[in-house]
Point group: C2
Chain length 117, copies 2
């Protein structure tokens, strides 16, 4: 059995039509997960360990699982890396305008904190 098959369970993702609004809102209600989403909004895709977040690997792994199972991101294995991408098209199809307005509110908050810091 190849080592990669033994080490990692298959990654599951909800179908576009099964993406649930409450799961998405819950996934976005955490600062670490929102940071990941906002980084992926600006980039096509990115390996899991390279996000500008300061949490333990097991915590980060949990956050990626929440994001993947909510339908916000898609992940694939590539060699020893797990690559993440935002499901922008699926999300826009399912909830038009939602992600943009949430991210705009987030960016606005980040800018406010920068001004008052």
């Amino acid at each position: 059995m190849p080592r990669s098959t033994r080490r990692r369970p298959a990654l599951t993702h909800p179908a576009t039509e099964d993406i649930d609004l409450f799961d998405v809102l819950h996934a976005l209600s955490d600062p670490t997960r929102m940071t990941i989403v906002s980084v992926l909004r600006a980039e096509a895709e990115r390996p899991c360990g390279t996000f500008p977040v300061d949490v333990a690997p097991s915590t980060l792994s949990h956050h990626f699982k929440v994001l993947r199972e909510s339908g916000l991101i898609i992940q694939r294995e590539e060699a020893n890396r797990r690559i993440s991408a935002l499901r922008t098209v699926d999300l826009e199809h399912r909830f038009p305008g939602l992600l943009d307005s949430v991210l705009a509110a987030y960016v606005r908050g980040v800018e406010e904190r920068a001004v008052t810091a």
Copy 2:
């Protein structure tokens, strides 16, 4: 001491500038709380016990607390009733367009379920 003062603690609400995006998203990530918000979107205000939700009174009380502390609703006492209203202007000032896009996504989901039911 009047009975009403003894029975109920003062209701606290965050200032508009202290409304936190993650608290708002968390508050909206629950179907019962979303139902309350969507009803209040259509009405000026409403007494707590009159919402079309099927949960125990203690659970409902918790949901109203989460909504109030997140800044989504304002509550006031009137005789023996607690009246709730959506903080539409405050929310629009804080996160322009956010509530509309979340509620639009919610209504869309409700309509989809009605079609497939």
